[in-house]
Amino acid sequence: MAVEKMSIAKALNESLRLALDTDPKVLIMGEDVGKLGGVFRITDGLQKDFGEGRVIDTPLAESGIVGTAIGLALRGYRPIVEIQFDGFVFPAYDQIVTQLAKMHARALGKIKMPVVVRIPYGGGIGAVEHHSESPEALFAHVAGLKVVSPSNASDAYWMMQQAVQSDDPIIFFEPKRRYWDKGEVDTESIPGPLHKASVARTGSDLTLVAYGPMVKVCLEAAAAAQEEGKSVEVLDLRSMSPIDFDTIQTSVEKTGRLVVVHEAPVFYGSGAEIAARITERCFYHLEAPVLRVGGYHVPYPPARLEDEYLPGLDRVLDAVDRSLAY
């Protein structure tokens, strides 16, 4: 049977296993990825089956992890590195931005950088500081990087395969509070391209765009709106760089209204980019200004307050109402 029901965590684990099995040049590197199988167990059992030479426990040094992965890529390997949590990526930010992102251009295309940087991101798990952030816009803003985030098990499985096969560096954000959500994965049917958005629910009155952890919230919001007689379409962006504006445009031309939802602060966030481009593309189709729902311009709050900070069902529905009121 090709179709299996599994959690996002399991889908990622199976996908990494397949990648290691398929290509001997694929390596997994990171803190605690070996014996422990990662703090979220995404790499569970992989070192046991593929050895310490393929699944490499590293020193506690994020810049070192990404910097040596770059060197391994130059030698012909395809490293998948794990950054343990979102807030820990910044020691490696220099290597990612000044080196990983630019190496291909610097060499006028003569070398490739097939490196995947996996980052469990986002809040909602009651963690301490630096364990709940959504820094995706900081990476999406950097030319040379591609930034993606799956929202369900099938995408987790297949997007990881596509990321590993890409010759460009991919920042792969994993929605950590969805790790245990289950979904069906067809391990034989290859889905569409990595950087294409998908329609998670069809509707005709308004378009909600989200990615990663917020797709589930938006689907719940659309279901709740349906009960009030509002037909909401939900797009799963899947890729934050590049962004599939065509799919958003098609939807907005139909609905005339757009609300973008993400956990990251609204200010300078992905929603700003989507709002600006869609306003350019769809000005005469829009019935209301593009609205955004997201985090505030404050440090991520302590866990007891994160429910106030994170966009929930009510905040999304409120934005839906505001848009429809124009």
Binding site: P59, S63, G67, L72, R75, G76, K102, K110, P242
Partner: protein, 385 residues
């Protein structure tokens, strides 16, 4: 080799504290040396070298041509042909000595001043000028000569070298990798992390630190309280300090470190104790931060002069050799000058090339917009006619 560190001791609250703050480097350092500044051959118990007259002349030629190339590039910057130049003046022995120790299958990770190492690798020197002229950010294929692109961010490349070396070990190859960096870079976290990773994974990498005494205007004393080669001790691999103005010692010490790496014995830190005779780059003014006497003292240790003295004293090179080399230098200078002046600005559309290996819809969209914008000028020019 001593590993005792004065800085590791507790500072004493005494009137001597100010003088104690001076690093051990201010005293005459212990160096591996095979050729004295006076051009005398000396022996070292751990590092022997036996070169033919041809090989010695070859090293001399490499240093002379590298210095000529460097002088030409500096002049081209002054003439406005290059936006910037990072001169290697004074560091020829460190670069040629270490560069000539390498095998073809070894891999080099340079900073942005390794023009002499590039020369040893067979990289056409005119290739090095593109980034300084502003027509590209490097542009050569690193795999053609196993010479990676120049890296501007200080110390980043030491991690790339370490990762590459980890790959070499995985492949079961007996190649070695060498990472160049400066005394300023030794303060960077990436260099420390590369020491950690290379030691932990026993990577076949040689860290070649050219301590040229100055990181722009900051002296080595602002980077470290212990001699830099001693850093290696804390990571569990050997460190050695070599006279960086002695091409023979640089060759012997690097060769030994590379052989150690090939044998699977892991990394070595080589500190080449040398001096940057010119400015950090053509943008700074060393007269503002260092004394003329200091440069004069180092001029007496000139790497090229001392080998020439040795060659002449030992009658290993005659005047015909030096005359021919002078002519070769002038030819090189002329070739470099002409090549730079002939270097075209890239096509504006090239901005959109090579951002991504697999392409990007965002770049495609912006490329199309830019092309249409460019084309609008052509249209209006036609209308004007």
């Amino acid at each position: 080799m001593t590993v005792e560190s004065t800085a590791a001791r507790k500072p004493r609250r005494s009137s001597k504290r100010t003088s104690a703050a001076k690093t051990p480097q201010s005293s005459e350092p212990q160096l591996v040396q095979l050729l004295t500044p006076e051009g005398e051959r000396v022996e070292h118990p751990d590092y022997q070298i036996d070169l033919t007259a041809d090989e010695l002349r070859g090293l001399y030629r490499d240093m002379v041509l590298t210095r000529r190339f460097d002088a030409e590039a500096t002049a081209l910057q002054r003439q406005g042909e290059l936006g910037l130049w990072a001169s290697l003046l004074g560091q020829e022995a460190a670069q040629i000595g270490s560069g000539r120790a390498l095998r073809d299958d070894d891999y080099v990770f340079p900073t942005y001043r390794e023009h002499g190492v590039a020369w040893c690798r067979g990289v056409d020197p005119t290739n090095l000028l593109g980034m300084f002229r502003g027509v590209n950010h490097g542009g050569w294929d690193p795999n053609t000569n196993n010479f990676h692109l120049y890296t501007i961010v200080i110390g980043s490349q030491t991690l790339h070298a370490t990762g590459y070396a980890m790959g070499v070990a995985k492949d079961g190859a007996d190649s070695a990798v060498i990472a160049y960096f400066g005394d300023g870079a030794s303060s960077q976290g990436d260099v420390a992390e590369s020491f950690t990773f290379s030691a932990v994974y026993n990577a076949p990498v040689v860290f070649f630190c050219q301590n040229n005494q100055w990181a722009i205007s900051e002296p080595t004393e602002r980077q470290t309280r212990v001699p830099l080669y001693q850093r290696a001790q804390g990571y569990g691999f050997p460190g050695v300090r070599v006279d960086g103005n002695d091409v023979l010692a640089c060759l012997a010490v690097t060769r030994s470190a590379l052989e150690r790496a090939r044998r699977g014995e892991g990394p070595t830190l080589v500190e080449a104790f040398t001096y940057r005779m010119g400015a950090h780059t053509t943008s700074d003014d060393p007269t503002k931060y260092r004394a003329d006497e200091e440069r004069a003292a180092w001029e007496a240790k000139d790497p090229i002069l001392r080998l020439r003295t040795y060659l002449e004293k030992q009658k290993l090179a005659d005047s015909a050799f030096f005359t021919a080399l002078d002519e070769e230098s002038e030819t090189l200078g002329k070739r470099v000058r002409e090549a730079v002046r002939a270097m075209p600005d890239p096509d504006p559309m090239a901005i959109f090339e090579h951002g991504y290996a697999d392409g990007s819809s965002l770049v495609d969209e912006e490329r199309a917009q830019f092309a249409a914008y460019q084309a609008s000028f052509a249209d209006s020019a036609e209308e004007g006619n």
